[in-house]
């Protein structure tokens, strides 16, 4: 098993954190993982992204040419990375900020993550809703592991945000029925 995931969105949407939480949870479940960030001259309003590989085998390049999954939290990210999805790849799209319009063959799962996050009371947990939606479709890491990571990595001054992030993750996992 090797799953290559590109996670992209506006700077500030928490795409780096989404990737780290996923990679950390997979590591704790005994998998090989790599997390590789875009570290270029990113601009405000542009896209930020990271690449996560989870595998049963040692990982060569942490760089992803063709992804198994693209999690796109905004329109520009979708435009930038949609050509990088494998022919039968999975697209997880934030329909609050983007519309799919994809080539045939791709599996697109669209939900208004930003609006749902807003409904939960914190627009910034859209990333965790997207992660939950992804994990309900590709069962590569247990939700319990991810919840544990969320509570473990929260710094002292952010402990108050653990519950809402965990709730967002569960909410996301329910979206696909």
């Amino acid at each position: 098993m090797t799953e290559k995931i590109i996670i992209a969105g506006f700077g500030g949407q928490g795409v780096m954190l989404l990737g780290k939480v996923l990679a950390e949870a997979a590591m704790r479940e005994g998998r090989f993982v790599t997390w590789f960030p875009a570290y270029g001259a990113e601009v405000r309003g542009g896209t930020a992204h990271c690449m996560v590989i989870i595998s049963d085998q040692e990982i060569g390049s942490p760089y992803i040419g063709q992804a198994d999954t693209l999690i796109a939290l905004n329109g520009p990210s979708l435009e930038k990375f949609k050509s990088r999805l494998e022919a039968k790849g999975l697209l997880i799209l934030n329909s609050s900020l983007a519309r799919a319009g994809l080539d045939k063959g791709l599996k697109a799962v669209e939900h208004p993550f930003t609006e749902i996050a807003s409904g939960l009371g914190n627009i910034r947990v859209a990333n965790m809703i997207a992660l939950g939606a992804f994990l309900s479709l590709k069962n590569i890491v247990g939700l319990e592991s991810v919840e544990k990571v969320i509570s473990d990595i929260a710094p002292e001054d952010k402990k108050g945000l653990i519950a809402i992030n965990q709730k967002a993750l569960r909410e996301g996992a329910r979206l696909n029925g």
Binding site: A23, M27, T34, W35, F36, Y39, E58, G60, S61, P62
Partner: protein, 357 residues
């Protein structure tokens, strides 16, 4: 007690240095290695060491010179453009026989280049880089774990041979996060006694640390001593990882990030029954010449049938060392990209398949 954490290569090198007893860090910011000084800034005070953000690269390397002369384990880090600025200091370290560790997280060049990963500073690292007839030890990690593990070794070798040691990484290795087991696999040796260090000469004759030999004949004698030391390093300290070498028709040669990619290509080729192997130099200087000699000596059944395919994130630097080691006894081919381009696993598989046919 071991502990598995998810951490970037840059942070792993910084923590590895602290575990090795590094007590002094001076540096100046440059992408893609900024996580090293950032980590050092927060960890050094806890570890009882000194962190200084210097006013320039030149200042940083000279502060390292001073700390090393005072007898403590000292390091700096930078990327290509900054490492170029440090070359004068590195030459002086070699000339004064001072140990120090210099991390280069390589980016694209020449000039200011870009911040993409690269292996274009191989020549600079292995051919001395600064002026004069000297060498630095050069270690090349290929994973976050190894980035951590090689730091204590770098300090140990630097102290043992009183020589600067370079840890040559690249932007991918610096930026990527991977699991790291933080119980050091390499047994850390404590900083040895340094009777030559400048520690105050009350009740003993004064020590002198210098790289200046103006009296006739002195500098040549000193250079001969250096060469003796370099010979000992070449004899004893070459390290590499060899995989599937004995029956290989094509042997990939790659280091650092490129070796990870070459390895996954090699394993896929093996699954298809193609006899590919991999040599991954861990020390770039001294270069692990002996394994190439062993595989190509006359009289062995595989002589002349091996092709070496050197893969680099440059347009051909380590390939020269492979050719020197092989010395005409086997074919040496090259695959490389530079300026931010990285040969992919498929590029490697295609190139090997062409050669193996």
């Amino acid at each position: 007690m071991s502990n598995k954490i998810l951490i970037s290569g840059n942070e792993a090198m910084a923590e590895g240095a602290i575990q090795a007893g590094c007590a002094f860090y001076a540096g100046y910011p440059i992408t893609p290695q900024n996580e090293i000084p950032a980590y050092m800034a927060s960890r050094m005070p806890e570890a009882g060491g000194v962190f200084i953000q210097a006013e320039s690269e030149l200042a940083a390397i000279n502060m390292v010179f001073g700390a090393s002369a005072a007898g403590v384990r000292a390091m700096t880090s930078s990327s290509g453009p900054g490492i170029s600025l440090k070359q004068e200091g590195i030459s002086y370290l070699a000339g004064a026989e001072l140990p120090a560790v210099i991390v280069n997280v390589m980016r694209g060049g020449p000039g200011l280049g870009n911040i993409a990963p690269s292996q274009a500073d191989y020549f600079q690292a292995t051919r001395s880089g600064g002026h004069g007839d000297y060498h630095c030890l050069v270690l090349a990690p290929a994973s976050v774990q190894e980035a951590y593990d090689l730091m204590p070794l770098a300090f140990e070798l630097a102290d043992k041979y009183r020589s600067p040691a370079i840890v040559l990484a690249d932007g991918v290795l610096g930026q990527m996060m991977e699991p790291l087991v933080t119980s050091p696999r390499h047994k850390v040796t404590k900083s040895p006694e340094k009777p030559w260090a400048l520690t105050g000469c009350k009740d003993r004759p004064a020590n002198i640390v210098k790289s200046f030999y103006i009296r006739e004949g002195d500098l040549e004698r000193f250079n001969l001593l250096l060469q003796k030391k370099y010979k000992a390093i070449q004899d004893k300290e070459a390290r590499y990882e060899g995989l599937n070498l004995e029956d290989a028709g094509v042997i990939l040669v790659a280091y650092g990030t490129m070796a990870r990619i070459a390895k996954s290509g090699m394993l896929k080729l093996r699954q298809k029954g193609k006899r590919a192997g991999l040599i991954r130099p861990i020390t770039l200087w001294p270069f692990p010449q002996k394994v190439f000699q062993r595989l190509t000596v006359h009289g062995k059944q595989y002589t002349k049938r091996i092709i070496f395919l050197v893969v680099e994130m440059s347009y051909g630097q380590m390939v020269e060392d492979v050719k020197l080691a092989v010395d005409g006894r086997a074919k040496v081919e090259f695959l490389g990209r530079s300026g931010g381009g990285i040969p992919t696993e498929n590029d490697v598989i295609k190139a090997v398949s062409r050669l193996i046919r």
